[in-house]
Symmetry: C2
Subunit: 527 residues, 2 copies
C-alpha cells in the first residue's frame, strides 16, 4: 500500500488516505463532474456494418472505447470491434471495458500489434495472465470497482470517445434492452453510464426489433447508431446455469458460520437487505439465511448485486421485498426481470452500476446493505483483502463490487477456507490490497469466526464490532484470533516460494473514490 | 417575430433563424452541456419539514428552484415551498416550474413581496393573467416547450440550485414514483432531468413507503433529501376524469376531417405512430382513427404524449404496440402504467421530458411521430401558430409539446374552428408565434382542409405537402385556400378592437432550440 506519486502510463497518483476521505468539492476534487455531450439526431441510426459504425462514430487512433461484460464469457462484440479497428488501421486505443474474460484472449494479439495501448477494466483469466506476464508495451491496467468506474466517468476522470454496447434487443430508434433475444442477459446495468457520457454510442445487436423493447434499459436519447450483426454472443457463455450450492462439507461449514453471524447481528430483522454473491460458499449462505428467515418469520428488504435464481425464489416466496439487479446471473433471473414471456415481476428492478455502487452520487444501493458476504483470495492481519491476484501472483480477477459492498454494508463478512490447495488464504500481508481492512468486519473460515478488533472508519454505518464478537461468543460459535489463523495457515502450507516480480507496474488498483490503493507488479516471464 | 438583440431581464437574444438551425457544436453553441453535480451521500435523507429541507439544501435568495406540474391544478407543493421561503426571508427567487396553474395564484403575492423575481415555465390561467396585466417587478417569463426545457437544463443554459419534486411515492433512500399513493399521478416524466442536474434535490411526499416503490421513476442516486408532508396534492385536481370526446357537431366535423387526412397520408399503415392530445376535438380524432385502423386491420406503433384512457384502450385492444407516457392524463392511464394494483402493462412506458422531446439528445420520441394533431388559439397566413395568448392578448397557456411534436411529426395537423366565440382563429398575423408555420403541414377547420403550400424546412422528415393536397382533393374532401379562410373569418367576426399593449415584455417565447421566436407584451392594466 505504499505507492509512488507518479506511475508511468497512469499519471499522477492520488494516494489512498482512508475509506471516506476523497469526496467531491473538497481537497482539490471538483464539486461538478463531466459535462455531457449534446447531440443532433440523425434521421436514421441504422448502419450496415461495424466498419460503417466506426467510421460514423469518428473513432480514431488514440481514442477510448468502452464495452460492458453482461455477455460474460460468451461476448463476441469486443473481439469483433477490435478486429474491425485493426482492419481499418486504428491503433493506440484505450480499452475501457467493465470486464474481460477468457473469450477475449484475442485482445493479446491486438496489444502486440499496437491496436490496444491500455486497458482500464477488470481483466479475468487469460487476459489477466497476459497482463501479468507479457504485454510490456501495455500501459498499466487500471482496476476499478463497479462503483468506481461510473464515478470516474461521471466525474470526468475517464472520457469515453465511443461506447460500443452489445444489445440483446434494440429497435431502430436506439432503445436497448438486455431482456429479449437469443443473447438475452437480463439486466443491462453496467453500460448505462457509458451511454450517458460517451461522445458517441454504437449499439451492436443481433435482435433488431420492429417494436421498441419494453422495458427499456437504455433509451434512444443516448444511442447514436445501431448496427445489426449475425450474433453478439454465445448463449452458452452468457447465462450459465446457476452455480450450485457447495456440497463440500468444509465449505458448507464456512457458509453456516457466516449465516449464523448475520442471524446474530442486530440487522437480522424485518427489512434485512443483503448481498451474498454467486459463488458456491456464498450461495450456501443464501440458502442458510433463507431457512433462518423463514423459521423466524422475517421478511427481508432487498437482495442486491448479481442476481441468481436463489434470490428470485426468495422474492417469489415473499422472503424479500425487492431485487435490485445490476447483473442477472442465470436464466431464472433473466425471466424474473421480464425476459421473454412477460412474466415480469415489477419487484425485480434493473439498476445501473451508478445506482448500484457509485460513491459520489446521492446514495447508491450498497449504502442500504445490512450485510454482505464476500470471498477473497487472501486476507491479512489488518483484514486487508486481495481478490485480484492468485497465490502465484498472477492478476486473474477484477474488483467487481467487492470494495463497494464492503464499504456500504453494516456488516461485511469475508467467507473463505484457510487454504486453497496448498496456498494459505490468511497471511501476514496480502500480495495486493483490493479492499482495505477498515471496511471488513468479520472473517469466517472453517475454524470459526474472526472479528476485526479495530474501530470502523469514521462516517461509516458499520455496526459495533465488539457487539458482534460478544454475540458470537455467547452463541457458542468458535472464535479464532487473527494471530492463530495466520500461524495455523503457515504451518499447514509450509514455506511458500516468493513470487518473482519485475519492477513493471502491470496494474493499478484504485479505491472506489479514485485514490490509489495498491499496484500489481508484473511477474518475471521466466520462472 | 422581430425581436431585439437584448431583452431586459432576459439577456442576450439568440434570434430564431429556422427550425433546424441551432445545433450543438456549431455557430457558437458548445458541443457539451452542463456538468453534473457530484454528491456525497448523507447517512439519512429524511428531514422533518420543508424548512429543514430548505436549510439543508442551502437555498438562498437569488437562487433558482424547479418544480414539476404532474399534480396539475391539485398541486400543493409550489405554494408550500414558496410560503416557507417567504417565512424564512428568502427572496429574489427564479421559479423554474414546468407549468403553473390556477391553483398557484398565490405566486402573485410572492411576486409582489419580492420572494419571486422571475418565472421560467408555462403560466396557465390565473398566473398568466397576472404576468400579462400586473407584475411590473417581474422579469420576463421565459416560455419553453416540453423539449426545450430539458434541453436548456442539459445544455447548461439554466442551472437549477434546488429541485423540489412532489413525489406521490418515495422511500427513505429517495427512490421516487408517481404511481402510488393518495396523490398518484402516473408518469413522473417531467422532473427527471431536473433531478439529474440540480445541485440539490428535495423530494416532498405524502406517501413515505417502507419499501422501495417499483417501478421507480427517479432513482435514489439523484435525491438528496426526502420530506414527508400531510398532503402534496388534491386528488380532484390531479387526475381528472378523461375529457369527453366532443359532441359539438361542428367540432366533430373538424375531427373527422383531421382523421381523414391521416388516413389518406402514406403513413396510414402498420406501425403508425401518433399523438392526438386530450382536448375534445383531438380525442374525437383518436376515436375516428381507431375506427379506421380497426376497419383496415392496421396495428399502430406508439401513441405518445399526455396519455388518456382512449390510448390505453387502443393498447389493450392491440391497435397500438406501445404507449410512451410523459404525463398520465386520467385514472385509466395511471392504472395501466402500474399504479396501485399491479396491473402494469409493460408496453405502457414512462418516459422523461428529455426522451419525449429534447431536440439536442440523440433522438427524442417526437422524431418517431408519423402524425400529430394539435390545437391553436390562432393560426396565420404563414401557418404560424399561437397557443400562448388568447384573443384579448392575455397570456393564458404554455407551449407544452406543441413545438416539439409539430417539428418531429411527418405530418402536423392543426385542428380548430374558424372562430372561437366572436374571435377569428385564422388571421393575417398571429399575436404571438408559438410554433413557426414551417413545421405546420395542414390546417383543418369546419370548412375543410387547408394545406401549407410552402416547402418544409430542410432536414425535416415532413411528407410532401403536394402529395397530401392531391390525395385530399382526390378523396373529395373540401379544400380551402388560406386566403379564403382569413377573409371568411374577418367577415364573420367583424372588426376586432386592437389589443392594448404596453412596451413591457411580459414573456419571451423560445423555440425548442433556445433561440427566441417572439415576445408577448404586457397589456395595459386598464382597458
Amino acid at each position: 500500500m505504499s505507492v509512488s506519486d507518479h506511475i508511468d502510463g497512469y499519471g499522477a497518483v492520488v494516494p489512498y488516505r482512508g475509506v471516506n476521505t476523497r469526496v467531491p468539492g473538497a481537497g482539490g476534487v471538483p464539486a461538478f463532474g463531466a459535462p455531457r455531450p449534446l447531440k443532433t439526431p440523425g434521421q436514421c441510426k441504422l448502419l450496415r456494418s461495424l466498419e460503417d459504425a466506426i467510421t460514423a462514430s469518428g473513432l480514431k487512433s488514440g481514442m477510448t472505447v468502452s464495452f460492458h461484460h453482461h455477455l460474460r464469457n460468451g461476448d463476441k462484440v469486443v473481439n469483433s470491434v477490435l478486429d474491425a479497428c485493426a482492419r481499418m488501421g486504428i491503433e493506440g486505443l484505450t480499452l475501457f471495458p467493465t470486464a474481460l474474460f477468457d473469450v477475449h484472449e484475442p485482445v493479446a494479439e491486438h496489444v502486440r500489434r499496437g491496436v490496444v495501448r491500455q486497458i482500464m477494466g477488470s481483466v479475468n483469466g487469460a487476459v489477466g495472465r497476459m497482463v501479468s506476464t507479457e504485454a510490456r508495451e501495455l500501459a498499466p491496467v487500471v482496476l476499478r470497482s463497479h462503483g468506481g468506474r461510473p464515478r470516474a466517468i461521471a466525474a470526468g476522470e475517464v472520457h469515453i470517445d465511443v461506447a460500443f454496447i452489445a444489445a440483446p434487443a434494440a429497435d431502430g430508434a436506439g432503445n436497448l434492452s438486455g431482456r429479449f433475444g437469443p443473447s438475452a442477459c437480463g439486466s443491462l446495468g453496467y453500460p448505462q453510464v457509458d451511454a450517458m457520457y460517451a461522445d458517441r454510442v454504437v449499439a451492436v445487436t443481433d435482435n433488431l426489433m420492429p417494436v421498441m423493447p419494453a422495458p427499456v434499459s437504455i433509451p434512444q436519447i443516448y444511442t447514436d447508431f445501431v448496427v445489426e450483426v449475425p450474433s453478439i454472443g454465445d448463449p452458452a457463455g452468457i447465462v450459465s446455469g446457476t452455480t450450485a450450492v457447495t456440497r463440500n462439507p468444509l465449505r458448507l461449514l464456512i457458509s453456516r458460520y457466516a449465516a449464523r453471524v448475520i442471524e446474530l447481528a442486530p440487522c437480522f430483522a424485518n427489512g434485512l437487505s443483503f448481498q451474498t454473491g454467486a459463488g458456491g460458499i456464498t450461495l450456501a449462505v443464501t440458502a442458510f439465511l433463507r431457512e433462518a428467515m423463514a423459521a423466524k418469520g422475517i421478511k427481508g428488504g432487498f437482495g442486491l448485486g448479481g442476481i441468481t435464481g436463489y434470490f428470485v425464489e426468495m422474492l417469489r416466496d415473499g422472503l424479500l421485498e425487492r431485487l435490485l439487479d445490476v447483473q442477472s446471473f442465470d436464466a431464472a433471473a433473466v425471466k424474473s426481470l421480464g425476459g421473454g414471456s412477460g412474466e415480469q415481476n415489477s419487484a425485480h428492478v434493473e439498476i445501473s452500476a451508478d445506482w448500484y455502487a457509485n460513491p459520489w452520487n446521492a446514495g447508491a444501493a450498497v449504502n442500504g446493505l445490512d450485510a454482505v458476504v464476500l470471498g477473497a483470495t487472501e486476507i491479512d492481519r489488518d483484514f486487508n483483502v486481495n481478490v485480484n491476484t492468485e497465490a502465484d501472483g498472477t492478476l486473474l480477477h477484477g474488483i467487481g463490487g467487492h470494495q463497494d459492498t464492503a464499504a456500504g454494508a453494516g456488516i461485511t463478512i469475508i467467507a473463505q477456507p484457510l487454504l486453497r490447495g496448498r496456498a494459505p488464504c490468511v497471511v501476514e500481508r496480502v500480495d495486493c490490497v483490493t479492499t482495505p481492512g477498515d471496511v471488513v468486519d468479520v472473517l469466517v473460515t472453517e475454524y470459526g469466526v474472526t472479528v476485526n478488533p479495530n474501530a470502523p472508519p469514521p462516517g461509516s454505518k458499520k455496526i459495533w464490532r465488539g457487539e458482534i464478537l460478544e454475540r458470537v461468543r455467547a452463541a457458542g460459535l468458535p472464535v479464532v484470533p487473527m494471530d492463530a489463523l495466520i500461524d495455523k495457515a503457515k504451518a499447514m502450507s509450509g514455506p511458500m516460494s516468493p513470487i518473482e516480480r519485475t519492477d513493471r507496474v502491470a496494474a493499478v488498483v484504485e479505491w472506489r473514490d479514485g485514490s490509489v490503493l495498491d499496484v500489481v507488479y508484473a511477474k518475471s516471464s521466466k520462472r
